[in-house]
Symmetry: C2
Subunit: 225 residues, 2 copies
DNA sequence: TATAATAGTTAGTATTGCCTAACAAAGTAA
DNA sequence: TTACTTTGTTAGGCAATACTAACTATTATA
């Protein structure tokens, strides 16, 4: 059994080694780095590292860097999955604010029940991204690719489907609602105006134009999932 | 701050002093009784009692019985409220089985977020009873009276409102759904048939009859809270 | 390369929450 | 009322998780 505290260490290790902003490929993590991220003393972390190694969740040799074992990675991703699913639940089902969801999800992520996670996942319609746009690992630990193609990058005469937004502000989301644009909406690009980089589109037989800023913040793909 | 363990002690004290089956009025609780209920040793409980007294959650004099202070009672009821709301959520929103809900709610009840509790309460439509029929304390700690009057007890020519059911089987609930009877449904009793003790009723201008068994399991009142 | 700065480790301490063993108080029954 | 039983308390330990202080290894820099 992995304790709540241990779970947080694993989560932190995954974050620092591969999820933190600006990380391209996996990097090894040191004791102090982990300690400062968790706001703990190195000595405390050091002791925990022994326990995690004991449990086969990490690889660690004296004075060397820390890496996760396969089991450690799998278990850490489970917590991240739960965290992001709960955030999505709080945001979409309970109308929590964007800012409040993290703290509560931080608690909910430790609830132990496979069934609960799957039920929540289903209730939410198996989302690929949480309200922050972070990818939600599936039950096998597979992480969906972050969507990077924005509507601005779609060529004239092509169609695409809205997959996510990069701006999650209420203002933007409300504006999209007014336009009746949401996840899965199909957009056809009629024209791209060079002058102000605005874009002329067709949605469900209706035509209108979007500013460059709006187009930038709409993340799209060829098909849904 | 009350720890998870302390919360469980408070919950146990409320249970043993007033909620356990067969308790008419509040009764004081002893160390061993509490220990055996929590499956702990008396010495362990004894130590915890000191901490709870320190925190002003219980009254306890050496070798005497334990009683909850106002604060202890309020805090304990909060946990019970959360537990029962989560059970209701799991059962009605996530389709968990009657048997599975307790264990998961046992974990969820310790999540600290006033807002979360209120949101869940609202999502559920402010229920008065959980799927087991146990009353859910409101946010001020007020416990709804268990409803004891069944439709069978309503006189000919009187009307009443459905407040709860005493049978929570899928079969029964599905049957009620077919009849379009649910919480808050107004029922007018047209006639009571002595022969088979069935009952003739009117709901929203429609007339039909219910068997004695069904009427027994419909708990009613004059008005909805 | 010598030394200073940074990173990592060890030892000793505290708190929470649990245990066993030994003992003291209260309740019960001969 | 004495003796037995049940109940409650104290003392001493242990594991998990955190701390400070002191020490050692590694890395970076003058």
């Amino acid at each position: 059994m992995i304790s709540l505290t241990e779970e947080n260490y694993l989560k932190a290790l995954i974050y620092l080694s591969s999820l933190a902003p600006g990380i391209e490929e996996k990097k090894d993590v040191g004791t102090s780095e982990l300690a400062s991220y968790l706001k703990l003393k190195s000595s405390t972390v050091n002791e925990m590292l022994k326990r995690l190694k004991e449990k086969n969740l990490i690889n660690h040799e004296k004075y060397k860097k820390i890496t996760l074992t396969h089991s450690g990675e799998r278990n850490g991703l489970k917590i991240i999955r739960k965290h992001r699913l709960w955030e999505t639940f709080l945001f979409t089902k309970l109308d929590f604010d964007w800012i409040e969801i993290h703290e509560v999800a931080e608690q909910l992520e430790h609830i132990k029940s496979e069934k609960l996670v799957e039920k929540i996942d289903r209730l939410l319609g198996y989302p690929n991204f949480d309200p922050h746009g972070d990818p939600i690992p599936d039950k096998h630990g597979k992480i969906p690719q972050r969507i990077t193609k924005s509507l601005s990058a779609v060529n004239k005469g092509e169609k695409c489907i809205v997959l996510a937004v990069s701006d999650t502000s209420k203002d933007f989301l409300n504006y999209l609602e007014d336009l009746d644009i949401s996840i899965k909406t199909e957009i056809f690009v009629i024209d791209k105006i060079a002058f102000d980089q605005s874009i002329k589109i067709k949605i469900r037989q209706e035509q209108f134009s979007l500013s460059r800023k709006v187009a930038d913040n709409l993340l799209v793909g060829d098909k849904f999932n």
